[in-house]
Amino acid sequence: MFKIALDKIDELFAALSGNETLYLPIEKSGEIEFYPYEKDAKVRLDALHTVKSAKDLFFPQTENLMNMKLDGKNIQIEEGRHVEDPFVLFGVRACDARSFDVLDKVFLADPVDSYYAARREHGVIVSMACSRPEETCFCNVFGIDATMPEGDVVVWLDTDHLYWEAKTEKGEALTKTVESVLTDSDSKAVEAQIAATKEIMDKLPLKDLDLTRFTEDEMMNIFNDSRWAEMSEHCLGCGTCTFVCPTCQCYDIRDYDTGHGVVRYRCWDSCMYRDFTRMAHGNPRKSQLERFRQRFMHKLVYFPENNDGMFSCVGCGRCLSKCPIHTNIAKVIKTMGVKEHE
């Protein structure tokens, strides 16, 4: 394990961003997102969450797939990918780190999404342990340890130091590039912090959300539950929950006519939108109830059913704080977690 004093952390960032782009939580115009590091950037490692999750780096909100150039009536097709640049993603919390596993199940399964795969290959993840969770956190419900996140490198922060430990080969390689600015450390401080954090985690109001009902056997019962109606009644049908969600993976592929060609790009889509999966005959899910139900059935029942029990929620709590009307997956788990009329 290594460490670096926080007052020297810019040296670490400078070293990390030396050869490749370093993304880390940076505040711009009052909000924190993963932005490329630059000198004098307002780095906010203290922030629990970025607004958009870290998935944006592997599965960007908008991504060019190809360009079609028109020359008279001839069309020339060019690949439009910009996915080969290596990068370091620093400061990913445990929940977001787990979300990559969820996304991998989708994008790395056959047929492999080569755009996603390339980014995964070229990205090194430096995750960061939590020490100050918020009331909206419930990653523990999905078996995530916020004090010991997944990632190529894990870092812990205390008041004075950043502690660094490589966990994978990629992580080791990255460590080599920054070794010069790090010093060796024992793990005492980290262990103490982990213990303290676990105590706090035990007090989280949502830590006891019960997922036992969300099984294949109950699928149709949950699907047909009449309580979806009242839960979804006031859903605005916006895409906030989807777009801040680290695991939502739906996208649309669209063409944009530039006047001298066409850009084919993909962008995040939301199953909460009225025109999601609209086909020539219309939309198979006509009501907000169906769309609302779909989102949560997918996260809690269908996805685990198809992916060895892995829920496609990581308990980051973004949707809890961002939903305009404060309806969210925690309320769904609480409601649907118990049988109707019980």
Binding site: D71, G72, K73, N283
Partner: protein
């Protein structure tokens, strides 16, 4: 996918000198949809048109782009051409490469480049064109004339002459209008009544003309060719069918103290009255405000007197709804009442009169039987001062900014008549300018000055004061820069012409527009002077702006010609480039209707099928016969439900894209 043919016109050297037409044709060949492109010397010639027609057939074109002169020049020509070859006339677009390209650019490279872009924009638009079919609607072969003055009468007579039915709606008990009150007309000094009353009689006797006197327009709906108008017939309390017009009722009526409107209040009339001897219809009307029967329930003498039993105190207001193909507005004017002009002491001095009052004082049928007497003491005035432009050409809030046009001439007439009849009377006219454009007008004015010795002083009257039964007029002479005080026995104010007060509400009913002075606005100030911007609504006479009698009559006849032209059609073809609301997108918010100048948007509850979901929605429907295609509604519609055929959002965007490539 369209199959587009592009034809580039040389226009001789007009285009070809600054645009490489062959290069334009070559350049558009690669554009989507284009299957054929060529250039030709004169596209509008017989040969050019045949080329288009043949190519349409040979190539199976679905649309045509012509790169030529302005569409304002030959769009109609080419629409006919393509229609003759079997494609919809709206599958045509014109790229204006003459007026907006070759004629303004000298550099051939530049001109060619621009022409290519304009051609591509036209192709881009045409790719999104859809065939448009002009709507048809029937024409009700009857016209309505609102206002029965000389303008309305002339229009009605001319329309009737052509064989169409006309209804005249007149709010007064008689037709005839302001001209009935006039004594002589300028510049010929012939008797107004002698030329007007025969026309009134003609109108009354015409089989084609139906007069609703003492009636008002209550409601108008519909559109050109198909108006539905509700007319309110006010109760006269005299049965027109029974009344013989003998006048016995008037003689016996005990209520005799109502100021007589016809004589501008200079004498009195009875409660039951016929406005004047030649009134049409010659049927009295009871003024309920003055009638003792209506006030106290006690009288009823007229009823007892009437041998024809025509008096009917129980008569009720009647509403008649009829259909018309065309509506003529002939609501005329009123002279301004100079009550706000304290400096002239009109309210205080009986001997300060308006020109129309003076007209009555000079009229043989007037309150003084044509003898000019001062209203105050019935003496002959020896000194008369005329003041011009009272309420006209002013800047203050009590003034109108416009020139009332007729005052200079009628004042000259008055001055001349006075001097002619009473040579011992001294007549002075204060004027800002004397405006005499018109046939024999200036000669007329000069006669007043030179032959009749009328004193014309360029200047303003500042104040009129009453001193010992006589008037003192303070004025300035602008030419000699003198201040002066004149003694006068009478002061005559040439008051401004104002549109009838009903104009505003009528304009709203007709969705016709009026200007800031409440005169009706013509569709085009030069080229469509007798049409309102609302199709099927025409303007006759002073309602459109101040006019003298000959102009009024001329406009009345012109208006009739326009109406006849409309009524002669069996059906109307409407401009198909009109707004259209997508019923699935419409929110029913009615914002579009708020900006429609034509009232072309209605709201209906309609069942729609939204991807299998049937529901009744409150949505906008455009009446295509009424819509003029301006597009105001399209921009006000946030959902984009409202779009304009022929100039659709996507079409305009396609042009933008092509230009900005």
């Amino acid at each position: 996918m369209q199959k587009i043919g592009v034809f580039v016109c040389w226009c001789g050297s007009n285009i070809a000198a600054t645009v490489d037409v062959a290069a334009v044709a070559e350049a558009v060949k690669g554009e989507p949809g284009v299957v054929f492109a060529t250039d030709y010397q004169y596209m509008c010639s017989e040969g050019g048109q045949s080329l288009i027609k043949e190519t349409i057939k040979e190539q199976g074109l679905t649309g045509v782009v012509i790169c030529s002169c302005s569409p304002r020049m030959h769009e109609a020509t080419f629409r006919k051409t393509v229609e003759a070859a079997g494609i919809n006339p709206y599958m045509l677009e014109i790229a204006n490469i003459r007026e907006q390209c070759s004629w303004i650019h000298k550099n051939k490279e530049e001109g060619t480049e621009k022409a290519i872009i304009l051609a591509k924009a036209a192709v881009a638009k045409l790719n999104l064109n859809t065939p448009l079919i002009a709507g048809e609607s029937r024409v009700v072969k009857r016209a309505l004339v609102i206002g029965g003055g000389i303008a309305g009468i002339q229009t009605a007579l001319d329309i009737a002459e052509a064989g169409y039915e006309v209804d005249i709606v007149e709010k007064q008990p008689t037709i005839g209008g302001k001209m009935t009150q006039i004594d002589k007309t300028f510049p010929t000094l012939d008797c107004a009544a002698c030329i007007l009353t025969p026309k009134m009689v003609d109108a009354a006797q015409s089989e084609k003309i139906n007069i609703y006197s003492y009636s008002e327009v209550e409601k108008v709906s519909g559109f050109v060719g198909n108006f539905s108008v509700t007319i309110k017939k006010k109760p006269r309390y005299v049965n027109s069918d029974l009344c013989t017009g003998c006048g016995a009722c008037m003689e016996k009526c005990p209520s005799k103290k109502t100021p007589n409107e016809f004589n501008m209040g200079l004498d009195n009339r009875t409660a039951i009255y016929i406005p004047f001897a030649q009134a049409i219809p010659k049927v009295p009307v009871i003024d309920t405000a003055a009638c003792l029967h209506f006030k106290t329930g006690k009288c009823g003498i007229c009823q007892k007197t009437c041998s024809a039993n025509a008096i009917d105190f129980d008569q009720k207001e009647e509403l008649i709804t009829k259909e018309y193909g065309a509506i003529v507005v002939a609501t005329g004017f009123n002279p301004l009442k100079p009550t706000k002009f304290d400096e002239y002491q009109y309210n205080q001095c009986a001997d300060v009169v308006t020109s129309l009052e003076f007209e009555r004082l000079m009229n043989a049928a007037g309150p003084t039987k044509g003898v000019l007497l001062r209203p105050s003491d019935q003496s002959h005035p020896k000194k008369i001062v005329f003041v011009q432009c009272v309420g006209s050409r002013g800047q203050s809030c009590r003034d109108h900014s416009y020139c009332s046009k007729i005052c200079c001439m009628y004042t000259a007439k008055h001055a001349m008549l006075v001097r002619d009849k009473y040579p011992d009377t001294d007549v002075t006219v204060f004027y800002i300018d004397v405006r005499t454009p018109g046939k024999n007008f200036d000669e007329f004015y000069r006669r007043a000055v030179e032959e009749y010795g009328v004193h014309y002083i360029k200047g303003m009257v500042g104040k009129v004061e009453q001193v010992d039964g006589s008037l003192k007029v303070q004025a300035s002479d602008l030419l000699s820069n003198d201040q002066m005080v004149l003694d006068a026995d009478m002061v005559v104010l040439a008051t401004a012409v104002e549109p009838d007060p009903t104009a505003k509400s009528l304009a709203t009913m007709l969705t016709a527009s009026i200007d800031t002075n409440n005169f009706f606005t013509e569709a085009h100030p030069k080229l469509r002077p007798v049409e309102s911007p609302t199709a099927g609504v025409y303007l006759s006479g002073v309602c459109q702006g101040p006019k003298d009698i000959p102009e009024t009559v001329a406009q009345g006849s012109a208006c009739a010609a326009k109406v006849i032209g409309l009524l002669a059609k069996d059906k109307l073809l409407s401009n198909p480039c009109v707004a259209h609301s997508d019923e699935l997108l419409c929110n029913g918010c009615s914002t579009c209707a708020n900006v429609c100048a034509y009232g072309a948007i209605d709201y209906v509850d309609k069942e729609v099928n939204d991807h299998g979901k049937r529901e009744v929605r409150h949505i906008a429907v455009v009446n295509e016969a009424v819509c003029q295609g301006c597009g105001a509604c399209t921009v006000t519609c946030p959902s984009g439900a409202m779009d304009l055929k022929g100039f659709a959002n996507r079409q305009i965007m396609a042009e933008v894209d092509a230009i900005c490539k």
